[in-house]
């Protein structure tokens, strides 16, 4: 548990970066600090490992006042990830990851085996170990940054806009892996971002800060979307709050219909017979995973991959209402495709049924 107690940072010029901030960050959870530029989110993060010294208040980690620890010692016990990775350009990937363990006096062999294991964990192939940072892509560099911060297995991680420097596609991959990794590791994470979508996706709790470092709202993402504390928070959350909120609502009890299917390579006659007059027919592969929709009336020869309409998204059974609704809305047949955890077809669901569930589902509005 990290406790900020009335933490204040006033710069010599008189600017208040953070004003009397009190915030509890529970152990094993991700707390995201989010807000517009100038809201003091990075300053707050950097006060936790004393890269910036607070001018007032107290910061405790598991009950220990950080001001009582030697800064170097404090920092070696806290993982620190920054935008772009901040990798050491003169050291190989492996040497970068081994930095903190070696600072802590581990022997090289142990440090190396931990570093090698971590590379795999963050999705880096072992062949990259001897590369230098300037030979890596932005996403790879960021992964090395995360691995380096994890190397000494610190209970607390501070992450300052770690995924802001990469393109949107890679950012989404990194975010997904962050969630997977955090599910395995259960670190106490403080994560700074200016991107509210990232905050909502990654946070167990989200602290929205306003300019001057005052807490506007602290809430779980679903609650934040459903019940913004004031206009500032509502504005900052932006559009589509209701729809985005569905992303946190589980969809357990949707009425699922069986869906007639054909396999890739089936003849046009078979397809038309199975479709029984319906204008769209679902196509599956050998593993009965849905691959797309076809119009039986438009088929001439066999069902080929080039005939497929691939616009429909897939929703996982037991996933969220948002995914189920989107699957229905995006399918040309308006029947949303549900799959199980292995990607096999379960059935389809209609938008009207999802909406009925939304109106019944109390979880959306706490």
């Amino acid at each position: 548990m990290i406790n900020l107690l009335g933490v204040t940072k006033v710069y010599p010029g008189g600017t208040t970066a953070v004003g009397d901030l009190t915030l509890a960050m529970p152990t094993g959870q991700t707390t995201v600090l989010v807000g517009p530029s100038g809201c003091g989110k990075t300053t707050t993060l950097r006060m936790i490992n004393r890269m910036i010294e607070p001018t007032g208040g107290r910061i405790e980690i598991d009950g220990v006042n950080t001001a009582d620890l030697e800064p170097g010692e404090l920092r070696r016990g806290i993982g620190y990830v920054i935008q772009g990775g901040g990798l050491f350009p003169h050291r190989t990937v492996l040497d970068n990851i081994m930095t903190v363990p070696l600072l802590l006096g581990w022997d090289r062999r142990r440090a190396k085996s931990v570093a090698t294991e971590l590379m795999e964990r963050v999705g880096l192939t072992a062949s990259l170990a001897r590369r230098y940072p300037n030979e890596l892509s932005g996403g790879q560099q960021q992964r090395v940054g995360v691995a380096r911060a994890l190397a000494a297995d610190p209970p607390v991680m501070l992450m300052d806009e770690p995924f802001s420097a990469v393109d949107p596609v890679v950012r989404e991959q990194l975010q997904d892996e962050f969630l997977r990794l955090q599910a395995e590791l259960g670190k106490t994470i403080v994560f700074v971002t200016h991107d509210i979508d990232e905050a909502i996706k990654l946070g167990d709790q989200v602290a929205v800060l306003r300019v001057g470092g005052a807490l506007a709202q602290l809430a779980a993402p679903a609650e934040l979307l459903a019940d913004p504390a004031d206009d500032f928070v509502a504005d900052f959350l932006g559009h589509d709050r209701g729809y985005r909120g569905l992303g946190f609502a589980a969809a357990p009890a949707l009425p699922i219909s069986a869906e007639p299917v054909v396999a890739l390579g089936a003849s046009a006659e078979d397809a038309r017979r199975v479709a029984a007059g319906a204008s769209w027919l679902l196509v599956v592969d050998d593993a009965s995973a849905p691959v797309g929709w076809v119009r039986p009336s438009a088929l001439s020869g066999r069902v080929e991959p080039s005939d497929l309409h691939r616009g429909g998204t897939l929703a996982r059974l037991g996933g969220t209402l948002r995914a189920a609704l989107d699957a229905a809305l995006s399918a040309p047949s308006r029947r949303g495709v549900l799959v199980d955890d292995d990607g096999r077809l379960v059935g389809t669901v209609r938008a009207a049924d999802v909406l009925a569930e939304i109106e019944r589902e109390p979880g959306v509005r706490p």
């Binding site: 890269m51 170097g72 404090l74 901040g86 350009p89 050291r91 996403g139 890679v170």
Partner: protein, 240 residues
């Protein structure tokens, strides 16, 4: 041309207390001593300025200002003013070395300063954030990353020193410059041009040695990837 070959080919010109070998050793001695002294002063000072960010303006002005001071004039003034106060063997040597050091410090200082100044702030921030103390940050991150520019400062200083050490012969010192000055005095163009050729070769060789040391000392990670074809070929396309 034939005059040079005649002079270079004569074994008598190579040996003895005023032979080519001794003069080369003298020349390298002046240059080595000067570089050592100026590096001992310039590198720590440059690192300190780069690390703390204090005194940047001094560095820039010092480097630009010193470039406009004519080295020959400075050398003569130093010998005339300091020489009589020292006396003996030191009368010429000490002022010359002092001038050489004064000339060599600015490029070395500027290289060390610019090297530390050019270190990616994110790398420095990360180093601090993972618990390195200021001295560790300097030694483990800033200095290794600054090496390319530290070397480029040392190399310009070395060339400067070798060139100016040649002039030292005009204030009665040894070194390869002797052949140029003595050849001039005896109207012996063969000796002059032979000496000049030796100085040129020495300068090129010293620069090559520095280049080789730099290559060995600087981490390959700091060499721009574009100049490393072999590595570029190894880069596999990877979405992340």
């Amino acid at each position: 041309m034939s005059l040079i070959w005649a002079w270079l080919a004569d074994p008598a010109n190579w040996t003895g207390s005023d032979g080519i070998l001794v003069r080369t050793v003298e020349h390298l001695g002046y240059a080595g001593l000067t570089l050592l002294l100026s590096a001992l002063i310039g590198i720590p000072l440059g690192l300190w300025i780069g690390h703390t960010g204090r005194g940047r303006l001094v560095v820039v002005n010092l480097v630009n200002g010193m470039r406009s001071v004519p080295t020959l004039g400075l050398l003569f003034v130093a010998v005339l003013v300091l020489g009589p106060r020292l006396g003996g063997d030191l009368a010429f040597l000490a002022p010359a070395i002092i001038v050489l050091v004064i000339l060599a410090i600015p490029p070395i200082l500027a290289g060390a300063y610019a090297g530390v100044d050019s270190v990616d702030p994110a790398a420095r921030d990360a180093a601090r954030g993972m618990g390195m103390r200021p001295f560790d940050v300097l030694i483990r991150v800033e200095v290794p990353c600054a090496l390319p520019l530290i070397f480029s400062g040392l190399r310009s200083a070395a060339l400067q020193v070798i060139a100016t050490a040649t002039l030292a012969a005009s204030v009665s010192l040894g070194g390869l410059g002797r052949f140029l000055i003595d050849g001039q005095a005896y109207r012996d163009y063969g000796q002059m041009a032979g000496g000049a050729l030796l100085v040129a070769v020495l300068a090129v060789l010293v620069d090559l040695v520095f280049a080789a040391v730099q290559r060995a000392a600087v981490s390959p990670g700091l060499v721009p990837t574009t100049s490393r074809r072999s590595i570029r070929k190894r880069l596999v396309p990877d979405p992340a």
